[in-house]
């Protein structure tokens, strides 16, 4: 992909998000209440920021022609998508089966996904690291982590 195309996509997305946020500020809940807000309603500052947001985005879009011909470093989108899906699955699992079991499953899965092929390392790190982290937080630092439906602290 060319850098100019990248900047146009980025700028267009920022304009769209900015437009949605501006539309949100036009809702009645953001309207002025002279007694409460001393003449500056809750949408005042966000609108100032959105004004700057639009201005800077337009400059970035205008500048995209300067970098038009340069190429963006190629990315491995498949690996990225895989890691995002695994992370999302990790969060979903953690909510259901608790931190420890979900972390063991995730650590093993992500190491295998990233190409590690040493069973001893996968087993050791995949089990010991989540176990150590869980023990350290729950027992030493007294910070609760998500638990499973089967055990009290696990």
């Amino acid at each position: 992909m060319r850098k100019g195309v990248r900047d146009i996509i980025f700028g267009t997305c920022m304009l769209a998000v900015g437009g949605l946020l501006w539309w949100e500020t036009s809702k009645p809940r953001y309207q002025a209440d002279k007694v409460q807000d001393y003449g500056f309603d809750p949408a005042f500052f966000p609108r100032v920021l959105l004004g700057l947001w639009f201005l800077l985005t337009i400059v970035i879009l205008a500048r995209s022609v300067v970098v038009w011909s340069q190429e963006v470093e190629p990315q491995n989108w498949g690996r990225l998508a895989g890691s995002v899906v695994l992370s999302a699955a990790y969060i979903w699992l953690m909510d259901g089966i608790g931190f420890l079991f979900a972390s063991v499953a995730f650590a093993i899965a992500i190491m295998v996904f990233l190409g590690l092929r040493r069973p001893m390392w996968i087993g050791l790190v995949g089990v010991l690291f989540p176990l150590l982290t869980w023990y350290c937080f729950v027992f030493l630092l007294q910070i609760p982590l998500p638990t499973s439906p089967w055990f009290v602290r696990l």
């Binding site: 809940r29 800077l56 500048r63 990315q75 690996r79 969060i91 992500i110 590690l116 995949g126």
Partner: protein, 502 residues
């Protein structure tokens, strides 16, 4: 004196000393790993501070900060790859020394130079921060607004990528801070019907997402190779005193450069080390030998980058304005502990701050000891396969974002911001201004609205003769934006004529 005595008692607590040692070892390891760096080191250690007392948690964060900057030099010297950008200039002479079979000596030079730089800047911090805070007590809402505006513009202006993208990232950070309850009217803004958003975004999940998750995602997507192997065993050796005395001018110059650059918002240790290196090359005693394995190059770079640590803490602690993402994350660690950096910090928490200053000195001294004893062992961690490292970072990142308030929502926020941070990297948009904008957003909005109330809605009155400090800050802000644009336009207009002339 009583406050100093109380501070000593707090520092002598075994938990504090243990936190310092643990922080140094952890910081050195993460700092030595190419590409990880100080922000990630502090971010993934943040959850450990949740359950700790104030002084041990501050000591832990300070130790990680100092040691991660130093740790970058280990991989720079041994494998020709700086662990952090701060140590990029160390490669120029550090690795040639390794190739000459003097790796042990290079580690000795780097460790001692880091100690000197760190102690010098700690001394400046101790003297300057309370004075600056005292001066800043005169600041009203309008001056605060102008100061934050200048700091944000400066940070965005010197960030990686274009200045406009940096400024847009800063605006985005300020906008994120508006999500949740409006501090002046109590109205809820931009919650989109999601209950968890009514309290706003928590800083830690956003930081974890933008730095930790985004780093992991981009490493995975860039298809980087496995980390380098440290093949040869290395030791640690200090050069004779006469060698150090021969380079004392470079040491002092680099310490001053590093501390001064640290105080400036947005510049950072990488800039400091390169400026110190180029000064050594310009006026240093051994300037002809620089680049061929001359210790003066290692000394210049390492003294300067560690001298940034204390300098960068001056505006963070005294004004509550972090100059870079590392100090922004450190500031959030203080806020978690109920300590608000800013002009009242030294008045409200004298014991804790004195203990923190002493902890910084102890951190630097222990960093030297740990470096001398364990650097050769710690460098073996560089052999760890990247897949293991990334798995560990992800698990700790999830714990970090969950631990803030025990909500799965914050973990989801982290992953979403991880994707956003990754896309920003692809688009060459710096993420540091987002975090700093988010930290400064509430006080920026409050000072703007209070200032407008004071001036009956007249924004131009902010910069009138009644507010000389604000006027000076505004002029600096305008110059920060205008000068690069003017230079760029001048270069473009002179480009074709210069080519025609050739």
């Amino acid at each position: 004196m009583e406050s100093l005595g109380n501070a000593l008692v707090l520092l002598a607590d075994p938990a504090t000393l243990a936190a310092i040692v643990a922080g140094i070892v952890f910081g050195m390891i993460v700092g030595a790993m190419p590409g990880l760096g100080s922000v990630l080191a502090i971010t993934i250690a943040l959850p450990f501070t949740f359950g700790m007392d104030k002084v041990p948690s501050i000591a832990l964060v300070l130790a990680i900060y100092c040691a991660s900057v130093y740790g970058g030099s280990l991989s720079a010297i041994l494998i020709n790859t700086p662990g952090t950008p701060q140590s990029a200039a160390t490669v120029l002479d550090g690795f040639p020394m390794t190739r000459q079979g003097k790796a042990d000596l290079a580690l000795g030079w780097a460790t001692m130079a880091s100690l000197i730089g760190g102690l010098f800047s700690a001394a400046v911090l101790i003297v300057a921060a309370p004075q600056l805070a005292r001066f800043a007590l005169r600041f009203g809402a309008i001056e605060t607004f102008a100061l934050i505006g200048m700091a944000l513009t400066c940070i965005a202006g010197v960030s990686r990528g274009s200045m406009f993208k940096g400024l847009l990232a800063g605006v985005l950070g300020l906008f994120l801070a508006t999500v949740g309850t409006d501090p002046m009217t109590g109205s809820v803004r931009f919650d989109f019907g999601i209950f968890e958003l009514s309290g706003g975004f928590k800083l830690i999940p956003v930081v974890v997402g933008l730095f930790a998750f985004a780093e992991v995602f981009s490493r995975i997507a860039e298809r980087r190779t496995e980390l380098h192997d440290v093949t040869a065993a290395v030791g640690f050796k200090l050069a004779p005193l006469a060698e150090w005395l021969a380079r004392w001018k470079t040491i002092v110059r680099s310490a001053v450069i590093g501390t001064f650059i640290g105080v400036l918002p947005g510049t950072g240790a990488a800039t400091a080390s390169f400026i110190a290196y180029s000064e050594a090359k310009r006026v240093g005693r051994f300037r002809e030998r620089l680049g061929t394995g001359e210790p003066e190059g290692v000394v210049a770079s390492e003294t300067a980058n560690n001298a940034v640590t204390g300098g960068a803490l001056v505006p963070t602690l005294a004004l509550g304005i972090p100059g870079d993402p590392v100090t922004a994350v450190m500031m959030s660690a203080l806020i978690i502990q109920g300590i608000q950096p800013g002009v009242r910090l030294f008045v409200d928490n004298p014991d804790v701050m004195n203990a923190a200053f002493m902890a910084l000195i102890v951190c630097n001294l222990l960093m030297f000891a740990v470096g001398a004893l364990a650097a050769p062992i710690i460098t073996r961690v560089l052999r760890m396969p990247e897949s293991i490292l990334l798995a560990m970072v992800l698990v700790l990142s999830v714990v970090g974002s969950y631990g803030v308030s025990g909500r799965m929502f914050d973990v989801m926020v982290s992953v979403v911001f991880g994707i956003v941070g990754y896309l920003f990297r692809i688009c060459n948009v710096p993420t540091a201004p987002v975090v700093i904008g988010m930290v400064l957003g509430p006080i920026f909005e409050e000072s703007l609205r209070q200032g407008l109330i004071l001036t009956d809605g007249d924004f131009l009155a902010f910069f009138g003769p009644e507010h000389p400090i604000a006027m000076v800050l505004l002029v600096i802000t305008v110059l920060i934006v205008v000068i690069p644009i003017w230079r760029h336009l001048r270069a473009r207009s002179s480009g074709p004529s210069a080519q025609a002339g050739r």
